[in-house]
């Protein structure tokens, strides 16, 4: 635990789990979509659904998807800002149970027309976990830069991917690999200590059996 987590985070209120955490979930989506999405349908579950409006969870999620930091006072009016940018977002609530009381699923379409589904939860103190990306069941936080590489599950590929990072002096903090089925598409997720250069990402994309590479950073622009 850090002092900055006790005297902090700096955020807009009213709730670290229902507001700040929601901003970070939205910001994960913004980072994954490489910018503000074209559209989003967001479903809130359990506690998020129950107290979400009062805590500004919906406004915080939209703020994050607009790329705002957790302490950006524009979050209060994020629906208006979304509208003026042509970002079409709607909210639903679900009565179903979810893996965590502060849980959401966002079905988005990026500016390039790519559909994505992201599910995640806010676990308190502004911290989040992403639990699903399209078909991949995952478990990642968003405290550091993340690289996500969609690849074919085949022998030697993990070594090749981590080799690229090593070559560029990038140290891996935590890493997970998820595969819905043996021998099919899989997802590598690594939190890294250093930022990842465009050259490293390009080299990663050029490896055989790589489908897509995403580079996410939690820090506000």
């Amino acid at each position: 635990m850090l002092i900055e987590e006790v005297i902090g985070p700096v955020m807009v209120g009213p709730s670290s789990s229902h507001t700040a955490g929601a901003v970070y979930l939205g910001r994960f989506i913004y980072s994954l979509a490489k910018g503000v999405p074209k559209s989003a349908v967001v479903t809130l579950y359990e506690s998020f659904a129950k107290t979400g409006r009062g805590h500004g969870t919906d406004r915080a999620l939209v703020g994050g998807m607009l790329g705002y930091a957790a302490d950006d006072e524009r979050i209060r009016d994020s629906f208006d800002h979304a509208k003026s940018q042509g970002f079409d977002v709607t909210f639903k609530t679900s009565g179903s149970m979810s893996p965590h009381p502060n849980y959401m699923t966002a079905q988005i379409v990026t500016q390039d027309g790519m559909p994505m589904t992201v599910s995640g939860c806010s676990i308190g103190g502004g911290k989040i976990r992403i639990t699903q990306l399209d078909d991949y069941k995952v478990d990642i936080g968003f405290d550091n830069t993340l690289i996500l590489v969609e690849h074919l599950d085949t022998c030697g590929i993990i070594s090749a991917m981590t080799g690229v990072l090593a070559e560029h002096g990038i140290n891996i903090g935590t890493m997970s690999v998820f595969r819905p089925k043996k021998g099919s598409k899989a997802m590598l997720m690594a939190e890294t200590d250093q930022k990842i250069s465009d050259a490293a990402i390009e080299q990663m994309k050029q490896l055989p059996n790589i489908y897509s590479v995403f580079y996410l950073t939690p820090f506000a622009d």
């Binding site: 635990m1 002092i3 006790v6 005297i7 955020m11 709730s15 009062g54 500004g56 406004r59 103190g125």
Partner: protein
């Protein structure tokens, strides 16, 4: 890293360092015996960075207090807003009987009212309790003319003490009730204020213990699930308790139960609170007839 108030006290006794410096040194994994390294890090290294961070956050707290205390308007729901303003007006009228206490309470409410309307705040340790620590510190700085450097140190001290509470017990209302949020914030403020006022380590620890004992069992029962009622006014009372606790221990009053044991007790009591009293809005004042009517009205008008 120290895991108890007692251990922190022992490190202070052994090294003779200030509490804030021990906390910062431990956080940065410095050798406490290396006085030269610590001095260097304090002048221009990792400890200086930490102090600068606290100083920046203190500025954000002060701005929130200024914005909140001058705003007479209600929030969107109508459940909070304008009470810090009201109390401040009353204090200035000369009719109030609380002085530093009243001012700390007004400032605490001011910041928590800003929190309620999605304004910028610093969670300390949480957003729901974000008014208490700054309310007490800002009021104390006005009263005693402490320097900004002393305030950054005080925030660091409060943070270190808060970490012990977070690690031994909890600072989450959902886990431990309001005693874990407002209680912890007030306990942190009591410790920091007592130290600013020149109290011994034992007195600071006792101030923490006294405050936490006074809120033992305090439930989290937010009306309509919002962070407004009774949250804003609980921030006022938390600030008031911290200020009084500092007077009590400096007068020579001791806590019979030591700080770490009180913290551990808060954890146990928290776990014994039913979920209805732990931030679900299913119990406490959240289910009082007026609260239910309010919740209904807010839903019908689309605010909730």
């Amino acid at each position: 890293m120290f895991r108890s108030i007692e251990e922190l006290g022992r490190l202070k006794e052994e090294t003779g360092m200030s509490t804030w410096q021990i906390i910062a040194a431990c956080q940065n994994e410095l050798n406490l015996a290396d006085a030269e390294e610590i001095a260097q890090q304090t002048a221009e290294g990792s400890i200086r960075e930490m102090l600068d961070c606290m100083a920046q956050r203190y500025e954000i707290m002060k701005k929130g207090a200024r914005d909140g205390i001058s705003n007479p308007n209600r929030s969107r729901t109508g459940l909070s807003g304008g009470d810090a303003y009201r109390l401040e007006q009353y204090l200035e009228s000369g009719k109030a009987v609380t002085s530093l206490t009243g001012r700390a309470a007004a400032l605490s409410m001011a910041i928590n009212e800003v929190n309620a309307v999605m304004g910028r705040i610093v969670a300390a340790p949480t957003a729901g309790s974000c008014g208490i620590l700054p309310g007490v510190l800002i009021a104390a700085q006005e009263w005693f003319s402490y320097t900004d450097e002393q305030m950054a140190q005080a925030l660091l001290t409060a943070g270190g003490v808060g970490m012990v509470i977070a690690v031994r017990a909890t600072i989450s209302g959902a886990e431990g009730g309001c005693q874990a949020e407002c209680g912890s914030a007030a306990a942190m403020a009591a410790f920091a204020l007592t130290e600013l006022r020149g109290g011994t380590f034992r007195q600071c620890a006792d101030a923490l213990a006294l405050v936490m004992k006074s809120v033992m069992g305090l439930v989290c029962d937010p009306v309509a699930g919002l962070v407004e009622v009774p949250c804003v006014k609980r921030n006022a009372f938390g600030a008031a308790q911290a200020v009084l606790a500092s007077d009590m221990v400096l007068a020579g009053i001791e806590s019979v139960i030591p700080a770490d044991e009180v913290i551990d007790t808060m954890k146990t009591v928290g776990s014994q609170l039913p979920p209805a009293l732990r931030e679900t809005a299913d119990g406490g004042v959240a289910v009082a007839p007026t609260a239910i009517a309010i919740t209904q009205r807010l839903k019908e008008t689309g605010v909730l």
